[in-house]
Symmetry: C3
Subunit: 343 residues, 3 copies
């Protein structure tokens, strides 16, 4: 079970309750009244636990698991251990997410304001927010209901947060408007002045950055990531985006809804993404590009041209993944051929 | 116009005033007494605004713009809209920077010390500084006139800042001497102990790092970047350098003046740069190298050898850009040839 | 000598004392009673200083050095300047580390709790710890003896630190158990909720992250690095690991003992390393991989397959370094051939 130092477990739940809250269905042999105590990974679970299976690479773990219940796609459950009760769903990982959240809900915000927090008299903080020690909230800031402002967080002048937002330790926000249910993780920097100056060998000339960052509802920004504010227009993070740790997003970038940006990616200024674009870790996207909806970019790619909607790209300079795999194969053959002819 | 939550506009200004302060010249047909209310991008501007044009890729935006005035290179202004008053200069973006700064100057520092700031009795902080809530200033630190020490900033023991510096939220400085008019952005780490140890399978042995970081006048360090202090000698950031977000600079690195380092670049220990070196995003420079003055390195490059002054390099391992483009082209042809012969 | 603003020197020491504490041996001609005042680099040293030599690329610096003493491998000392007293050891840099630490020991922790620190009544902090201004320590946290909790640090609910740990400015810890003698540098984020969600075009579904981060004794985590907590099991950093700045370590990653991870490396979720793995800067390791003990990975590599123990890999996709060098060479030849035939 999860370490009680850090996690408070709820439950138990009947299997029928878990099916309902997760959008799964009870398999024909499953007992709806079976009581489930906890969630656990397949190899660590025992008869009181529910687990999930969705990666056939680890089939043996499923067959050997002692889990009392398991969320699984119907086609994968044929050889389940005899004591295991199954929940059927086409997307077991998704359903498992709802079940795990039932056992371990995000703790409700306990309204309070630490005496070690500095809240400007001209800031508006909803009465049911939690403001932790070391937090600094500037003049004109507006914080919606049930927000959690973590330790040592800085909320700059005029910043607006919607409802149910979480801003975790040491993050800082300036020049931004944030929607509802947004999570801003530890050490994130939103609204910093971007890399804007006129190159000049005699001394670069700063271009004032006069835009904002607009962060859509339900988005989630990973630890120590940085999002610069717009230069003239705004930098926009679409609703439901998931941004991992140590990501850099330049000024005037516009991300569509529900984009997924993995760790250490960099997106240069003024590039625009459609909805549901997925970018693998450590990739870089040059500035002033248009990346269409549904595009997928492999990890460690370098994108220097527009990509049409729905395409999959990889490599540097990035090309369609099929071409990229050919390049890799060709280079490998070439090196082996040379190696033979040299030796 | 810029969101008044975050920006205070000055002005209006006559066109002749803007010409003077930006080093531009009034075009023959321009009215020197034309009153300008604000700055705006070409597509968003109306008759009271001044804009700039310097990217021919967006020529249509210029021709369709309703901007009342525009900064432009003389050769580009031939087909300006009839109601547009032009300012001529060879570097429109640079002149626009001065104009935008006139409308939106960096707010003057309002001297105060927050009651939530911890300032050691043995620190010297000029009386006209602003020290925000959560700032911690250690013994022996010296802060020059008109500095702004932001919320939750840490200034370590003995650190020296010149005049007119800005240290933004949650940055931390130790073991460093900083010049005048330096901007250190949110979450920057200056003076951390570098990656110094003797490799030993039985347990690595730490090498004490006994140097400092010297930060030159007018330099600008981007959010969440890290600059390690020297091991024996110092790490040096030359005057006027511009360093973007999430950049890593190792111990004993020496940057010349006015270098430009884009986001997520890493520079390994003891490498030295001449003046005005420009490095594209996500590039890595190995340690103990010499990169000559005026060198330009393309984004996502990996540099493992010295580069002579004035050269342009790209790729990994980095080669002259002309060779790099040939490599890219060759690889692309090779993959296509293989693809055809396979299919 | 090191700047006294930042460093307090101890000593002097006799050469025989330095030999003993560093595991080196006095060369036959060396005077055991020779008094040494300080450490210095070869080119900066004078007769009172001790230096070290281990990089033959800089042989001239050794021959021209005015250092009064030098740590050196026996085979390299044949042409030492006549006034230089030698200490012999097979690993001069390692021995120099012990000597430099004798002159410049890490300052002892001076027990105190700043009035600007917020320590929860339900936290246990050993009486001989130092807790600096702006530090926030949550309920249930346990801090062992002689720990230094730096300015603006956040120690979350239930976090456990062993003895003699240092947590530097603005770092934040949550959901983690930390061993003894661990250094966590400025701005580090340990225990953040990892990148865990079920992809869903209609809105990604968060998977609760219910594990911890376990940090082994004597490990060292660089500035602004991020280590996510486990999803179900734990993320583990083995004893004696050295992690540089701006490194990203995903959920469930397990690092063996004494691994060395250079700057800006990213390690994706659930990958496991054996002991003493060394990874060069800006490399990326995909998720769910197994990297054997003693593996070395060149800088800027992209690893997408398991690597057997003891192998050296490089490139993207990473291959054995010998093959990688052949690929690089082939590509270079190919580009030159094309270049010739084109011109």
């Amino acid at each position: 079970m999860a370490d009680p130092r850090f996690y408070q477990r709820q439950g138990p739940f009947k299997l029928s309750e878990l099916a309902k809250l997760s959008g799964a269905e009870l398999a024909p042999e499953a007992d709806p009244d079976r009581v489930v105590q906890d969630v656990a990974a397949l190899h660590a679970a025992d008869s009181g636990d529910i687990s999930f299976f969705d990666n056939r690479k680890f089939r043996a773990r499923f067959q050997e698991s002692a889990a009392g219940a398991c969320v699984i796609a119907p086609r994968d459950g044929g050889d389940a251990p005899s004591c295991m009760h199954l929940l059927h769903t086409p997307n077991p990982y998704r359903s498992y997410g709802f079940i795990a959240r039932a056992f371990y809900p995000t703790p409700a915000v306990v309204p309070h304001q630490s005496e070690f927090a500095s809240i400007d008299a001209a800031a508006k903080v909803a009465a049911d927010c939690a403001v932790e020690a070391g937090a600094v909230i500037g003049p004109g800031a507006e914080i919606g209901r049930r927000c959690h402002i973590g330790p040592n967080v800085t909320i700059g002048t005029g910043v607006v947060l919607g409802e149910d937002c979480r801003v975790l330790a040491s993050a800082s926000l300036s020049h931004c408007l944030v929607g509802d249910r947004v999570t801003i993780r530890e050490g994130v920097r939103i609204g910093s002045e971007g890399f804007g100056f006129a190159l000049d060998p005699a001394g670069h000339v700063t271009i004032p950055q006069l835009g904002r960052v607009i962060v859509g509802d339900d988005s989630d920004i990973g630890a120590n990531s940085t999002i610069d504010r717009g230069a003239a227009s705004d930098t926009v993070i679409g609703a439901g985006c998931r941004i991992d740790n140590l990501v850099q997003i330049g000024h005037n970038v516009v991300l569509g809804q529900r984009c997924v940006i993995a760790g250490q990616v960099g997106i240069s200024g003024s590039t625009e993404f459609g909805d549901f674009v997925i970018v693998g870790g450590q990739s870089g996207i040059a500035g002033h590009l248009s990346i269409g909806a549904g595009v997928q970019i492999a990890g460690k790619s370098g994108v220097i041209k527009d990509i049409p909607a729905g395409d999959k790209y990889g490599g540097f300079p990035a090309v369609p993944v099929r071409d990229w795999h050919r390049q890799t194969l060709s280079m490998s053959r070439l090196a082996k051929g040379k190696g033979k002819s040299d030796g």
